[in-house]
Symmetry: none
Subunit: 426 residues, 2 copies
C-alpha cells in the first residue's frame, strides 16, 4: 500500500474558531491533484504535549506529514522544537537562515529582536524549506525510513508559495504526481438526491472513476472522480461515465462544474438570440440579480419589475385588478398575467414571473408559506408551474429555490423549443 | 479536570479540498463561548473503518464529541451506523422521525424513496436532536458514563439551527456555560479600518472586554468581547465601551451584530412611516433583493424597476432621452432622473437609484469600471453621490459595495431629516 499523507494544523486560533482552516482545504486539494492518498486531518492548539500526541499519531498513520503553523518567533510557536523532541535530536542554528532573517528586517528598516533568531533553529538533519514571502522557513525532514515531514507557516500566502516552489518538486522527486485525481461535478435540478441515487445506483459502485452524490440548496450533484496519469487520461475515463449519467438524468442535469442555472439559461438566451424580461414579487429582485451577476447580461436581459405592492402589479405590469380579486395575488392566473405583462411592456421575447408566499408571515391554509407560482410567457404560449416548498427551511431558502426553479423553467422551455425547431416563430 | 470537547468532521469532500470546513470553525467558536475546553479537531472521509478509528480516539481523548456530516440518505452516509457498531448497539427505526421525513416530502409534492427511511434509524438509546430545517435529524447520546455524543448534518444552516435550538440548552443543562465569552460587533460604513483604528486606538489595549477591528467587503467592524459569568454581566462590561465607541464613530457606525445596512434602513423607513421605490441598473436587482430579504418588506418597499436596457430608463422611469444623450446613462443627471422617476411612478416617499459601470467590460477613460452614481429623491429634494470603486476587485464586489452605499445614503438622509424634524413635510 502506498503511504498516505496527513495534515496537522497547529494553532490555538483554530480551536477558538477565530479563523477558518483554509490551509487544510488548500493542502487537501493539492494532495488530491498529486494523487497522494489522504485520510486524516488534525487540528491542535499551541500546546507541546498535544502537538506531540497528534504528531505521534500522524507518524503511525501516514508516511507524509504536512504541518501548518507554529513557526513564528513567539513562545507559543513550538512546531520545530516539538518535532526535534519527538525524534530526540537537537535543534541546530542555521547561520544562512539567520542572515536571511536579519536581511528581511534591514529591508524594512526594523530592528530584529533576539526571539526572531529562534526561527533559524531547525531539527538536526532537516533540510530548509525556503519561505520566499516571510521570515520563518519550514523544513523538509525524513527523520526515519518511510516518514517525510514538511512544515509550513500558518500564513496562507507564505504556505502556498512554499508549497508550489519547493514542496511539490520534492514530492514529485519522490515519485508522486505520476497519478492525479481529477473530478467533474454534474449538477441537477428538479430531482431528489435519493431518486437520482437510485437511478444511477449501478454507477455508485464504480471504482475508477468513482461517482458520489451530494445535495444542498435544492440541487443535487454527482461528482465523478478519476485517478489517472494526467488530466487528458482522467477525462477519457470520465467521459463515458458522464455521458451515461447525463443520459439517465436527461433534462434534470442542467450543467457541470462551475455552471449555474443562471449561466446555463443565459447561454441559451444568447444562443437563440432571444431576450428576457422578469417580473418578481416574493423573490424581490433575486432573479434579476442572479441574471445580471454574469458579465454581458445586457445581451439577453432587458430588465425587471419588482411589483412588491399589489397595486404595482396592475400599474406596472397591467395585471387585471379583477383577476387579483378573484384569484389572489399569489395564484397561477396572476403569475401568467405578470409574465405576459412584463414581456409586452419591456418588449422582450420571454417574460418570466414569480409570485408566492415567502413567509414567515402571510400564509393561509389555502396559500401556505412556501407556495410559489412561476410563469413563463414566450413567443407561442405561456406556461405556469406551482411549487410547494414548505415553511420550515425559511424565507431565504424559499426565495433561493423559487429563483432557481424559475431559471429551470426557462432553461427547459428554450431547450424543448429548440428541439422542436420553433424558436423565433413570432 | 473538566472533560473537553472534540470535533469530528466526516466527509470525503473535506479530504479532497472541495469545501472549506466552516462547520469546525463555527462549533469551535461556540464551544469557546460556552467555556468548554476544546483540544482536537479531526477530519475523516466517508470510510467506516477510519470513522471508527477517529471515533475511538475521540472517545478516549474527550467527554463531549461533536460530529458533522454523514447523516444523509445515501450509502456513504455512515455516521449513526458507525456509532451504533462502535458501541455495539442496534439501530432502531423511529416512527416519529419517519413520519416527519414523509411529511417533508408530502409538503413538497415529492415522492419519498425507501433509502430516505434510513435517516430514521438511530442508535438504540440515543435521543433525537431535531433538525428544524432538513430531513436528517441528529442525535444526543450518552452511550457510557462521561461520554456525550452529538451528531449534526454537514449542511451548515441545518447544523447551526440544531446547535442553537437543542445542543446549547443540553450542554448548559450539563453545567457548561457558567463562564462565557460574549461579543458585540459594531458595524461601520464610510470609514477606513486604519482611520477608525486610530480614532479608537486607546480601546484596542483594553483587556476585558477586548476590542478588535476587522475589515471586509467595504465595511469595518469593531468586536467587543467580554468574559463573564453570564450574558447580563458581559453586557454590563460591554455597554460603557460600546457607548464610547459609538460616540467616537458617530454616523459612521450604522449598527451592531446581526444588523445590516438594509435592516437598519428598513427600520428607519418603518419608524418614519415612509415608503421606498428603487431604480437599478448596474446592480441589476441586488438593492431590491437586499431590502426584500427581510420579513415584512411590504411595509416599506413599494417595488423596484431594473432598467438594464437604456431605452427602459426612458419608457419605465421617464428619464429624458436627451439627458441620456448629453450626459450618458452613467451620469449624475441620469441617476437623479431615475430616482425622481421611480419615486413618482411607483408613488413612494423615497426614490433610490443607481447607475454605474460594474465591468469587466464597458469602461472608458471618462467612465471607468467601478464608477457609480447613486441618487436619492425625497420629499424635499434629490441628493446624489459619485463613488469610484476601481476595477481590480471585480464585478461582484462593485455591485455589492454600490448596493451598500445606496442603503447608507438612504440611512443618513432619513436620520438627518429626523434630526431636523422635517419628515413627512410633503
Amino acid at each position: 500500500m502506498a503511504p498516505s499523507a496527513e495534515i496537522l494544523c497547529i494553532g490555538t486560533e483554530l480551536l477558538l474558531g477565530q479563523i477558518v482552516n483554509t490551509n487544510a482545504q488548500f493542502l487537501a486539494g493539492e494532495l488530491a491533484k498529486l494523487g497522494i492518498p489522504h485520510h486524516f486531518q488534525t487540528v491542535v492548539g499551541d500546546n507541546p504535549g498535544r502537538i506531540r500526541r497528534a504528531l505521534a499519531l500522524a507518524v503511525e498513520r501516514a508516511g507524509i506529514i504536512l504541518t501548518t503553523g507554529g513557526l513564528g518567533p513567539t513562545d507559543d510557536d513550538l512546531t520545530h522544537q516539538t518535532l526535534a523532541e519527538h525524534f530526540e535530536v537537537p535543534l541546530v542554528r542555521h547561520p544562512a537562515v539567520l542572515a536571511l532573517i536579519e536581511e528581511r528586517f534591514r529591508e524594512r528598516n526594523r530592528s530584529m529582536s533576539p526571539t526572531n533568531a529562534k526561527q533559524a533553529d531547525l531539527p538536526e538533519g532537516a533540510q530548509i524549506l525556503p519561505n520566499p514571502m516571510g521570515t520563518a522557513p519550514g523544513i523538509i525532514w525524513e527523520p526515519k525510513a518511510g516518514v517525510a515531514i514538511l512544515t509550513f507557516p500558518g500564513v496562507p500566502a507564505e504556505m502556498r508559495a512554499m508549497w508550489a516552489e519547493t514542496a511539490v518538486p520534492f514530492l514529485c522527486s519522490r515519485g508522486w504526481g505520476q497519478e492525479i485525481f481529477y473530478s467533474r461535478t454534474l449538477r441537477h435540478w428538479g430531482i431528489s438526491e435519493s431518486t437520482l441515487a437510485e437511478r444511477v445506483g449501478a454507477f455508485l459502485q464504480s471504482v475508477n472513476p468513482t461517482v458520489a452524490p451530494y445535495a444542498g440548496n435544492g440541487e443535487v450533484k454527482l461528482r465523478i472522480t478519476a485517478r489517472a496519469a494526467d488530466i487528458a487520461a482522467a477525462e477519457s475515463l470520465i467521459a463515458p461515465i458522464e455521458a451515461s449519467l447525463r443520459a439517465i438524468a436527461g433534462l434534470d442535469c442542467y450543467g457541470a462544474d462551475e455552471e449555474t442555472l443562471a449561466s446555463v439559461s443565459a447561454a441559451l438566451l444568447v444562443r437563440t438570440g432571444t431576450t428576457l424580461a422578469v417580473a418578481e414579487s416574493c423573490t424581490g429582485g433575486m432573479l434579476a440579480e442572479a441574471l445580471t451577476a454574469l458579465p454581458g447580461a445586457s445581451r439577453y436581459l432587458r430588465g425587471a419589475v419588482v411589483a412588491y405592492a399589489n397595486d404595482l402589479k396592475t400599474s406596472l405590469l397591467g395585471v387585471d385588478e379583477q383577476r387579483m380579486i378573484d384569484h389572489g395575488a399569489v395564484s397561477e392566473p396572476v403569475a401568467r398575467a405578470m409574465a405576459e405583462g412584463v414581456r409586452k411592456r419591456l418588449a422582450s421575447d420571454w417574460g418570466l414571473a414569480l409570485t408566492g408566499v415567502s413567509g414567515p408571515g402571510g400564509g393561509t391554509a389555502q396559500k401556505p408559506v412556501g407556495l410559489v407560482y412561476i410563469a413563463l410567457a414566450g413567443p407561442a404560449e405561456t406556461r405556469a408551474v406551482e411549487i410547494r416548498l414548505g415553511a420550515q427551511r425559511g424565507r431565504d431558502w424559499i426565495r433561493r429555490v423559487s429563483t432557481q426553479s424559475a431559471l429551470d423553467l426557462l432553461r427547459r422551455e428554450i431547450i424543448n423549443r429548440e428541439a422542436f425547431g420553433i424558436m423565433k416563430e413570432r
